[in-house]
């Protein structure tokens, strides 16, 4: 995956709570191979007149600023593929669906959780100055909105390291091969019923 270090890009506000992964990627596109790209499926059924992602004022947005519980629902990683293939590298919201946030990190999409009032203020700024850019500095853990005020954000250190270095975590896990083998041996003694029908 592409490493994420810093980003300065236009941001688009989306005043909708509980945006679920069915809205991000309608289920009928789940059977599509990734090779052709998922960008055209992003919010496919929400693309009605007035939808901010289709507003030319927000063209080229790479940051999405939304409301609470973004990415709730289905575990489909395709929702992340649709955002990434649609050009997005970062989503800001008061809270995220846990599975979505985990999937995002595995694909170089940064999720930033900030307090509800802070995110609402950021959306308001973006509505007042459409097309304004924001700057994300992942090593420094700050997001700077149109008002130039750097907002510190928290991130899991492991997630941060994987994003900055673009790490494949299977390779990382295989460094623990001895521990996995030892666990399996001890566990086979402790829980002999683990393997079905054995």
């Amino acid at each position: 995956m592409d490493p994420f270090v810093t980003l300065t890009a236009p941001a688009v506000p989306l005043d909708i709570a509980n945006i679920d992964t069915d809205q991000l990627l309608p289920a009928r596109f789940l059977k599509k191979p990734r090779s052709a790209g998922y960008g055209n499926f992003l919010f496919h059924d929400e693309r009605k007149p007035g939808f901010p992602l289709d507003d030319p004022a927000y063209a080229g947005a790479r940051v999405l600023v939304s409301d609470r519980n973004f990415g709730c629902g289905s575990s489909r990683e395709g929702a992340v593929y649709a955002l990434v293939d649609g050009g997005f590298r970062c989503v800001v919201a008061p809270s995220f669906g846990d599975i979505f946030a985990a999937n995002a990190a595995k694909n170089g999409l940064l999720t930033i959780a900030l307090p509800e009032a802070t995110v609402a203020d950021l959306r308001r700024q973006l509505q007042e100055t459409p097309g304004a850019a924001v700057t994300v500095d992942l090593p420094a853990q700050t997001l700077t909105g149109p008002d130039g005020q750097p907002l510190p954000f928290a991130i899991d250190p492991f997630k941060k390291e994987c994003l900055i270095e673009g790490l494949d975590d299977v390779a990382l896990t295989l460094r623990h091969q001895d521990a996995i083998d030892a666990f399996d041996r001890a566990d086979a003694e402790a829980r002999p019923w683990l393997v079905p029908g054995a």
């Binding site: 709730c72 629902g73 299977v170 683990l194």
Partner: protein, 468 residues
């Protein structure tokens, strides 16, 4: 030194720690990995990296999302859908995995099949590339949904990196009223704490109302944990759990079963175990519930009216309510019982078990449905047993269709869709915009409530209609 009191979750988590990094990330051993047709991305990843499946004997493939609900005698007509079903078979075959395919006598929705086959056991860690994997927590397992990259990681390593979640105990004491079911209970919980009320937490459901539930009811409750944003939902295993498991195909047998039960009895939370959050609800106060909006958190008693955004002080929230009402085609103040429906769907990993079908049939027996509807059992064994009890004839006599097992109209990717603009009384788990089809309108409810709506043609308090 006495040991620190631990919760059910703590015990299962601690027993699966393979390694812990200084930053707190834990490498967890995974005991069961279930796959469905959507796993093709993950197989692509491990095949691309030339990595084998580390523990094929702990990995099970189940065809459920794309399988047809109608006759299976002929091949699947849509080539893209057919390809999804055959691709799973090919991937499972190449990696030597047990595959429950379209024509398998145990086939069904993975979250119905695995408990039924004795694959789901207390104390296990269980993952699947499906958010409703939380279902299996009903057995006291730690079970959660993961995405494609994590599926590929589990295939290759039989482990997963996780940060220890917080814990929340939801205690529901008292007795549920007549015709009030596990579905109403979990809808009430989600309505109370919100669609992100348990984000970052593993829920343990406790209290006398939970203990009184059958395994089917517990599965329904844990199934919808994800709709409250929870990482997982768990219920302590007890004699109800052990007697459900005993004798099932893949469950441990004889002395091994006894040894397993002795271990499982140590799993329930210690009396003084601490939780990061505690929530309590009174079972007796829970009414048959329905949702009015496009999030499960819009669950309210069926006796209520559609809420008024004008009464909401936060303008952003009021705008979001208007958007939901617009999508749902509802006017503020309308009594929910006056809302006419176009069809019903009874099925899904939430409510397609035998108990669910019996409850729906009890309302429909000797009555006619005013609207079309589809009843899809959760598995072939559920379907056979329902037929042995004559439930299929109750549904068809009422004018409903009796389908073949699978996810069907819950997610609509096998071709079973609610037509645009139509309103569906549904026993599923999600009422998201477009979930059952573009512009489909979904009201979530219990099987008995969906059956009552079928009989009257509008949302109905099943307590007024009664069962037969």
């Amino acid at each position: 030194m006495t040991q620190h009191p631990r919760s059910l979750f703590d015990k299962v988590w601690d027993a699966h720690l393979v390694a812990t990094r200084p930053d707190g990330q834990a490498l967890l051993a995974i005991d069961r990995h279930f796959l469905h047709e959507g796993s093709f991305h993950a197989f692509g990843m491990i095949d691309h990296a030339k990595r084998p499946v580390r523990r094929p004997e702990l990995t099970f493939a189940v065809a459920d999302h794309y399988v047809p609900s109608h006759s299976r005698a002929k091949p699947i007509a849509d080539p893209e859908i057919a390809n999804m079903v055959t691709m799973l078979e090919a991937n499972a075959g190449r990696h030597g995995l047990r595959h429950f395919g379209l024509h398998d006598p145990a086939q069904g929705i993975v979250h119905v099949l695995a408990p039924e086959q004795g694959l789901t056991l207390p104390g296990l860690t269980i993952v699947c590339g499906d958010s409703h994997t939380s279902t299996h927590g009903a057995f006291g397992a730690l079970a959660f949904g993961i995405g494609a990259t994590e599926v590929s990681h589990v295939l290759a390593t039989q482990t997963l990196w996780q940060r220890r979640p917080k814990t929340m105990r939801i205690t529901i004491d008292g007795e549920l009223g007549a015709h009030v079911t596990a579905k109403d209970l979990i809808l009430a919980v989600i309505g109370f704490i919100g669609a992100d009320g348990a984000a970052g937490h593993v829920i343990e459901y406790a209290g006398s109302a939970i203990r009184a539930l059958s395994m089917e009811g517990r599965l329904t409750v844990c199934n919808m944990s994800i709709e409250a944003g929870a990482r997982a939902g768990m219920i302590a295993p007890d004699d109800t759990t052990f007697s459900w498991i005993e004798g099932r195909t893949y469950a441990p047998k004889g002395a091994l079963f006894d040894r397993a039960v002795a271990h499982w009895r140590t799993l329930p939370s210690d009396p003084d175990a601490a939780f990061d959050r505690e929530v309590s609800l009174d079972a007796a106060a829970i009414a048959p519930s329905v949702t009015w909006g496009t999030s499960p958190e819009t669950a309210v008693p069926v006796t209520a009216a559609v809420p008024d955004p004008g009464a909401e002080s936060d303008p952003v929230r009021a705008g979001q309510m208007r958007k939901m009402l617009d999508y749902m085609g509802l006017a503020p103040g309308t009594r929910l019982e006056e809302v006419a429906i176009d069809r019903v769907f009874i099925g899904s990993c939430t409510n397609a078990r035998l108990e669910d079908l019996r409850a729906a049939a009890a309302v429909l027996r000797g009555r006619r449905a005013m609207v079309p509807g589809l009843v899809v059992p959760g598995s072939v064994p559920v379907r056979r047993q329902a037929e042995a009890e004559g439930l299929d004839r109750v549904f068809t006599a009422a004018g409903l269709e009796w389908g073949e097992p699978g996810c069907s109209m819950c997610v609509g990717i096998n071709g079973d869709l609610v037509p645009a603009g139509e309103r569906c009384a549904s026993t599923t788990n999600r009422n998201f915009p477009g979930r059952q089809g573009p512009n489909a309108r979904t009201h979530l409810m219990s099987p008995a409530m969906a059956a009552a709506a079928a009989v009257t043609g509008h949302l109905t308090d099943v307590r007024k209609l009664g069962a037969r």
